[in-house]
Symmetry: C2
Subunit: 240 residues, 2 copies
């Protein structure tokens, strides 16, 4: 498990990086449990097995470490949904956009937002906190990942429903559908108690994925059928 002790900490970049990395990993956990204000550098250093003074040394301050955590969250999310977003981007650039493929891509985006609930608990907690009380960290996560995810989702819905669907409308619809998936992360405790689960792992995520995918399909097919019958979409509040 240990690297060779002959590599001292002054010259080995791997060791230096590992001190930084240990602090970052510990910070993700601690900031997942406590807010920026109530988390303590003492506990982060302790969990990382590093010295307290290493935090201002490597990251400038507690807040600097928190922002590094935000950037780390972007990387984690991009690793999970980046490939699907790339596929969606390529699809939307095509001249021909078979609508069944829109549906498939939307389902993949939402299912990716459900996967690995338990390991994502700290990341989810931080994102949730930033949603209700945005700081600089929210802008990092939003512009680094959420914005593109949301924009692609809305455009996929628009591509599925046809040009008659206003973009703001599609934005709201995607937000609602994304909410179906996120509810199992943001309101985890409620579904654990109500469904009598102890964790949300493989089997539970499988059920959730099937339910959410089915809902998305029924909503989109239903809306498409209505549009073809010439139904006017619900009133919207802004010209688009």
């Amino acid at each position: 498990m240990e690297v060779a002790p002959s590599l001292d900490t002054h010259t080995d970049p791997g060791r230096r990086a590992s001190a930084r990395q240990a602090l970052l990993d510990a910070a993700v956990e601690i900031f997942g449990e406590s807010s920026l204000e109530s988390a303590t550098t003492r506990e982060i250093a302790k969990r990382a097995g590093q010295n307290l003074a290493a935090i201002p040394y490597y990251y400038g301050s507690k807040e600097g470490l928190y922002l590094a955590v935000a950037e780390h969250i972007v990387q984690v999310m991009m690793r999970r949904i980046g490939p699907i977003m790339d596929a969606a981007s390529r699809f939307l650039e095509q001249a021909s956009q078979p609508h069944e493929e829109c549906l498939r891509l939307l389902q993949r985006l939402l299912c990716a937002s459900i996967a690995n609930t338990e390991t994502m608990v700290p990341v989810t907690s931080i994102i949730v906190r930033e949603q209700t009380h945005p700081t600089k960290a929210f802008s990092i996560i939003y512009s680094g990942c959420l914005e593109r995810l949301h924009a692609l989702g809305a455009r996929l819905i628009q591509a599925y429903l046809g040009d008659g669907a206003g973009l703001t409308h599609c934005v709201v619809r995607f937000h609602a559908l994304l909410g179906e998936a996120l509810a199992f992360r943001f309101a985890r405790e409620t579904i654990l108690r109500r469904a009598n689960w102890s964790v949300i792992a493989g089997p539970e995520e499988g059920l959730i994925g099937e339910v959410v995918s089915e809902h998305v399909e029924l909503v989109l097919r239903g809306l498409r059928a209505q549009a073809r019958r010439g139904k006017v979409p619900a009133a919207h509040i802004k010209a688009e």
Copy 2:
């Protein structure tokens, strides 16, 4: 604005109650902005226009005040969705349950969960924090309101779909549909940026309500049509 000064604070129960109430109102705001750990009694007392020592005096401790806030949240939520839950309870006790009425009740429950977003911001923040990091306060809110809301929602879905629908299945479906509504509270900042709104008030809530109601209707009608065609519901992970 002031009550008659002849009523002194020692004998007038209204005045005594108002000191308690001022602390409680301030606490809802402050605990909405900061967690139990990072909120300070000094700021709560200051915003309430009360003395710092009044908090341990009236509520025992900072945590006691926090639990009182949780009970207050239950009252606020019950005032909003209590009547609808009562209507749903009465409906589910009836021998005859016209399925269109299930749909209507579900829509009313979800629309009530959307209303008054801005004034509910502090309450929402506290609930969200308790969902990701449950304390004693979560149990108060859950058993005081969330549990019944969720149970009624699942039973309404089951009543709509017919006896073939397993209860755990309906629980997951209701959680997903509730997520559509809650997404606009829990992920408020994202939809504000994406839809270019500055608040979620009357017009925005109207649009959200229409979209969510439409989605619920399409999902339930679609599932019912599938069930009538004899489609087996998605695999579930537990015998029910």
